[in-house]
């Protein structure tokens, strides 16, 4: 996972799929990234390398979204693959995650 700040946009790029096997490692890293960038007003979750998300992965994204809400940070999933976009669509998460 990589995080970069441009102006006030914090971009968090995931290295691969979001699965039950890695979400527990990712959660504290995500939290740290947000803590380290208090000036961020927007968070872009870059899902370019993510083709599969399981229920735990979805919960991680929801937790990240909720964390952003708490911090008044606008959340947006970017570079979403068609499969993941379709999954978000089925779960009514597309607009919540700001997917275009």
């Amino acid at each position: 996972m990589k995080s970069t700040l441009e102006d006030t946009t914090l971009r968090i790029s995931f290295d691969g799929d979001l699965l039950s096997t890695n979400v527990h490692d990712l959660r504290p890293k995500l939290f740290q990234a947000l803590e380290a960038n208090p000036d961020a007003t927007t968070l872009h979750a870059d899902l370019k390398n993510c083709k599969v998300i399981d229920s735990m992965g979805l919960n991680l994204l929801i937790a990240l979204y909720r964390e952003c809400e708490k911090r008044k940070i606008s959340f947006k999933a970017i570079n979403v693959s068609p499969e993941v976009k379709r999954l978000f669509g089925f779960l009514n998460l597309t607009s919540r995650f700001g997917v275009e």
Binding site: H24, S55, A63, Y65, K85, F90, T94, R96
Partner: protein, 1027 residues
């Protein structure tokens, strides 16, 4: 205005037009999915952008209208106002006005927008939440979490579907079943309609990243399906606790409280439901639902063309009838609209990478030119040739790359054109009070932009025709057992190196008989020609100039000048038009176009000292007529015998009216075998020069009216060649039914001269084996798409175009010992026999040819089986000659009708020495009469007549021992037999024979092997005897 300001203004117009086109499509989509938040946002952004840029130029009229639209959409975006049909109508009307204003922004303030402004203002003044709460209160509380699309619910109720709420634990209920969440939802979606979903994002349970990630995630799904709950649970192995059936009553009540659902729910909702995709209420649909134009504009890697806007916008009509959608207006496009179009055609956006490539190639061309100049300055030396060759090679490569890149830049997705039909179909649906669903397929298929532009008008006409004449009103559809929503499908696909565009409706289809009658009535064809035509050929008559079957001419279509103009326009684009129609099931117009018009490969030929270019795509092969490929005259027409086929021949010199010298006529000429969609012919030319890629240039004014040229080109040597239009050359010069007609003509004309021979139709049925059926027993041969063949149990049937009768189809291999055929390809031939009580047809994969067969040629020793007369060598191949009546007998059909029933008690003696005719007559009559005995010669017949009682004698004339004349003389002079009816069957039809027959007392003289005539003759002689 300065140049820079002019450029800025042009940019404003271009961008605003793109926004408006997008707006049209987004509004249509919103109408069917009013909760699509992204759609609402797009509409808001489009209006906002137009307002902003118009304000920059000070176009206050545009700003005022866009601002009013923005205010309303702002409320919608914030959830304070629903997307209602009224809102969509007002926004569409306002969009039309904006189009007019943007087209001529300097005069935009002159456009009357009072209706739109007051409507928008009225919407703003309404109590926003007035009617919002109450409708929902009728729903069960567990449904309130969903954002429900009433259209899906309404449709589900109409179809009697079951409604459920599934509460799913994504991990425990899905992933634990070794299924991914996406797989589960894809499958669920294929079993019904996912109306809405609600995922628990844990407003209480999950507060952020400080907590442990939840082990599971709950998603509620509101779903409707034809399945029962137990089946549904079983399909996914779900526990019963996950499902809650939803009673239909509250849903019906809720539907009644919804704003009136507009009639034209043609939208893509249904098409999406038919596909395994998520429900449209979900965001994932956005990618599918976004009109192509918009989808492309968001894709940086694609070309972004300017799509011509809808055509029939006129300030006058919109001012007088502001609420009428634009495409309904009768008014023809005005000059304004023409210039509007021209403006959009003037520019095209290109991907920067294409421009970069062009720039690089231009740079390489400059390098090549510099090398050439240097070479020329140095003068020709010993090394010059090699150096020149290298330069030419480089320039040649660069030129090819340049050509490819420019051609690619000209290609645009057909979706750019198809997109505009969302609005047109929506407006047509409202105007015609029909429910129409538009399906768009293959929008990514690319075509040259010139072709796309040329296609716009014909397609519009075809879509209007489909909506107006093709699709029935909802009540008529219901009565016919069809869904009330009519479907128009616009589809594009690649087809054998061309692009095929299809406009298909599922409406009432064309009535071929009505078309035949009309064509005869208008003198377009003769009654005989009409009777000969197959139903499909009759349907194609609608492309004839001035033809219209519409009993009432409407303002939408049916002016009687449309389809021929469509055909002409498509042919001008180098394309072809075909038509398929089935009464009660719909009509499809199929257009096939070349990918590009600008540069095409062509065959350069000469005729009468002039050079012509024939598009290579139409040339199947080139043949030098001579002993191997002889030119013959059949039925007054020149034909080329090409292997086992006869190809009609046209002479280019003759068509062009060239004067020919004797030398020219005597020289070896060449036939280009031209393949068109529905015709194939050979075009005689003097010389074949070479194959070239030619640059197509439009014809000058003087030649524009000459139909057989589609353009002109400059050849490599600097000569000008006219480009031939193969369809126009053939127009009116080929037999109506193609080559088969020539064959039939020959068969008909040759019967009297060669009546000792039988004309047979040779065909194949999927294998190499050939079969033959005498033409005299064939009523007609139809070519039908194999998709039209329907199965009822083990039987294959073909519904006739009149929809009243059905042909039962027989495969020869099912009844006689021959190789079984593989499945038929796209098309199949159906041979319909004559004088058959049952409606049957024999299937064939290919009609090979027709030929003559002589008595004695058929050998029954090689293969002997019921349904087969035997084998014969026909057209150099062993061919099984089918006994059609025997075949029907084997297939379980008895041959009786009212007339033949009169013969049921008859005892007949047949005197015939030739086995072929004896067998044939025997098989034809044996099930019609009570008794049929055979005598091999006259003597035997005489003996049998004296031993047994017979009601009729059928006799050959030329027989050994005692001929037919002598036999009859004996009968007439016998006291016992003198009144016996005698029928002579003979190939000899000279006057002397006929006179002799009369003299000896033969009652009827008949040519052999015409079953119905034999039966008619028997009926005649027995009725004469009874009188």
């Amino acid at each position: 205005m300065s140049t820079q300001e002019n450029e800025m203004l042009a940019l404003f117009i271009q961008e605003a037009e793109e926004h408006l086109q997008t707006l049209d499509n987004d509004l249509i989509l919103l109408e069917s999915n009013p909760h699509d938040q992204e759609g609402i946002n797009r509409v808001f952004r489009a209006v906002h952008s137009i307002k902003g840029t118009a304000g920059f130029f000070g176009f206050s009229g545009i700003v005022e209208l866009a601002h009013a639209m923005e205010n309303v959409m702002s409320l919608v975006r914030d959830g304070e106002m629903p997307v209602s049909p009224e809102l969509i109508n007002i926004f569409l009307a306002a969009t039309d006005k904006l189009k007019i204003m943007v087209h001529d922004p300097d005069r935009s303030s002159e456009v009357d927008v009072n209706y739109e402004l007051s409507s928008l203002s009225r919407m703003l003044s309404q109590e926003p939440a007035e009617s919002k709460a109450s409708p929902e209160s009728v729903l069960p509380s567990y449904l309130l979490q969903f954002n429900i699309d009433p259209i899906i619910v309404r449709d589900g109720l109409r179809h009697g579907r079951n409604f459920f709420v599934l509460e799913l634990r994504l991990h425990a209920d899905i992933e634990n079943q070794n299924q991914t969440i996406l797989e589960f939802f894809n499958e669920l979606d294929s079993l019904g309609d996912i109306i809405a979903t609600s995922t628990d994002v844990g407003l209480e349970a999950c507060t952020g990243l400080q907590e442990e990630i939840r082990p599971d995630l709950i998603c509620s799904v509101f779903f409707c399906t034809p399945m029962e709950d137990t089946l549904l649970l079983g399909a996914f192995n779900l526990p019963p606790s996950t499902i809650t059936p939803v009673p239909k009553e509250p849903l019906q009540e809720w539907i009644r409280t919804q704003p009136k659902l507009v009639p034209s729910q043609y939208s893509t909702k249904h098409q999406i439901q038919e596909e395994p995709t998520p429900p449209r209420s979900h965001q994932v649909h956005e990618s599918k639902l976004v009109p192509v134009t918009q989808a492309k504009s968001r894709d940086d890697n694609k070309l972004i063309p300017t799509t011509p806007p809808s055509q029939e916008i006129t300030p006058a009509t919109l001012q007088t009838r502001p609420h009428q959608p634009q495409s309904q207006d009768k008014t023809e496009p005005t000059t304004n609209i023409q210039s509007f179009r021209i403006k959009t055609e003037e520019t095209v956006r290109l991907n920067v990478s294409i421009l970069d490539t062009l720039m690089n190639l231009a740079g390489e061309m400059v390098v090549g030119r510099n090398k050439l100049v240097r070479c020329a300055e140095a003068g020709l030396g010993p090394d010059s040739i090699g150096e020149l060759q290298a330069i030419v090679q480089q320039i040649s490569t660069v030129t090819s790359d340049l050509q490819r890149t420019v051609m690619a830049a000209r290609l645009q997705p057909v979706g750019n054109l198809f997109g505009k039909f969302n609005r047109i179909v929506r407006d047509l649906g409202q105007k015609l009070h029909k429910e129409i669903r538009l399906e768009i397929l293959g929008e990514d298929v690319e075509l040259d932009r010139t072709l796309l532009e040329g296609l716009s008008d014909p397609l519009t006409h075809l879509v209007r025709n489909a909506a107006d004449h093709g699709l029935e009103p909802p009540e008529e559809r219901r009565a016919a057992g069809k869904p009330p929503v009519g479907r128009i499908r616009l589809a594009a696909a690649h087809f054998h190196g061309r692009v095929q565009i299809e406009v298909r409706d599922d409406g009432r289809g064309l009535n071929p008989q009505k078309i035949r009658n009309k064509a005869v009535e208008r003198g377009i064809i003769s009654a005989e020609a009409a009777a000969r035509m197959s139903d499909q050929e009759a349907c194609r008559l609608i492309f004839m100039p001035g033809f219209s079957t519409a009993s009432t001419v409407t303002d939408i279509s049916g002016r009687g000048v449309g389809m021929d103009v469509v055909k002409t326009n498509i042919e001008k684009l180098g394309g072809t038009v075909d038509l398929e129609s089935e009464p009660g099931r719909g009509t499809a117009v199929i257009i096939r176009l070349p990918l590009t018009l600008a540069i095409i490969p062509a065959l350069i030929v000469s005729c009468g000292g002039r050079r012509f270019a024939m598009p290579q795509i139409n040339v199947e092969e080139i043949v030098a007529p001579g002993p191997d490929y002889p030119l013959e005259i059949l039925g007054g027409a020149q034909v080329l015998r090409l292997r086992n086929e006869l190809v009609p021949i046209l002479d280019l010199a003759h068509i062009l009216g060239q004067k020919r010298t004797k030398e020219q006529d005597q020289a070896q000429r060449f036939a280009l075998i031209i393949g068109l969609d529905h015709a194939r012919y050979g075009l005689l030319v003097d010389e074949i020069d070479n194959m070239e890629e030619i640059v197509v240039k439009p014809l000058g004014r003087l030649l524009k009216g000459v139909p057989w040229y589609s353009g002109a080109t400059l050849l490599g040597q600097g000569d000008i060649a006219l480009i031939l239009e193969p369809a126009a050359l053939a127009e009116g010069r080929l037999p109506q039914d193609g080559i088969q007609d020539v064959e039939v003509t020959k068969s008909q004309s040759s019967i009297s001269q060669e009546s000792h021979a039988q004309r047979i139709l040779v065909f194949r049925d999927g294998t190499h084996e050939r079969f033959a059926i005498p033409l005299s027993v064939i009523s007609r041969v139809e070519r039908v798409p194999s998709s039209r063949i329907e199965r009822i149990g083990s039987k294959e049937c073909l519904r006739q175009a009149d929809n009243r009768s059905t042909l039962q189809l027989l495969r020869v291999a099912n009844y006689i010992p021959v190789t079984p055929p593989p499945d038929y390809e796209e098309e199949v031939y159906v041979i319909v026999p004559r004088l058959v009580h049952h409606a049957i047809g024999i299937m064939a994969s290919e009609i090979v040819d027709s030929a003559d067969i002589y008595p004695g040629q058929i050998d029954s020793s090689v293969v002997s089986a019921p349904g087969l007369l035997g084998t014969a060598t026909v057209l150099d191949r062993l061919t099984s000659v089918i006994d059609i009546y025997g075949l029907l007998e084997v297939a379980g059909f008895t041959q009786q009708n009212n007339e033949t029933a009169k013969l049921a008690n008859l005892r007949v003696l047949l005197a015939e020495d030739t086995s072929f005719f004896r067998e044939a007559v025997l098989r034809a009559l044996q099930h019609v009469v009570a008794k049929l005995d055979l005598a091999n010669d006259g003597e035997e017949a005489w003996k049998m007549l004296n031993e047994k009682e017979y009601d009729v004698l059928i006799t050959d004339i030329e027989m050994p021992k005692l001929d037919g004349f002598a036999l009859t003389e004996r009968i007439r002079s016998s006291t016992k037999l003198c009144s016996l009816p005698v029928i002579a069957l003979s190939a000899r039809d000279s006057e002397s024979f006929l006179n002799r027959a009369k003299q000896v007392g033969i009652d009827h003289y008949e040519t052999k092997f015409d079953r119905d005539r034999i039966i008619a003759a028997v009926l005649k002689v027995i009725s004469q005897q009874n009188e």
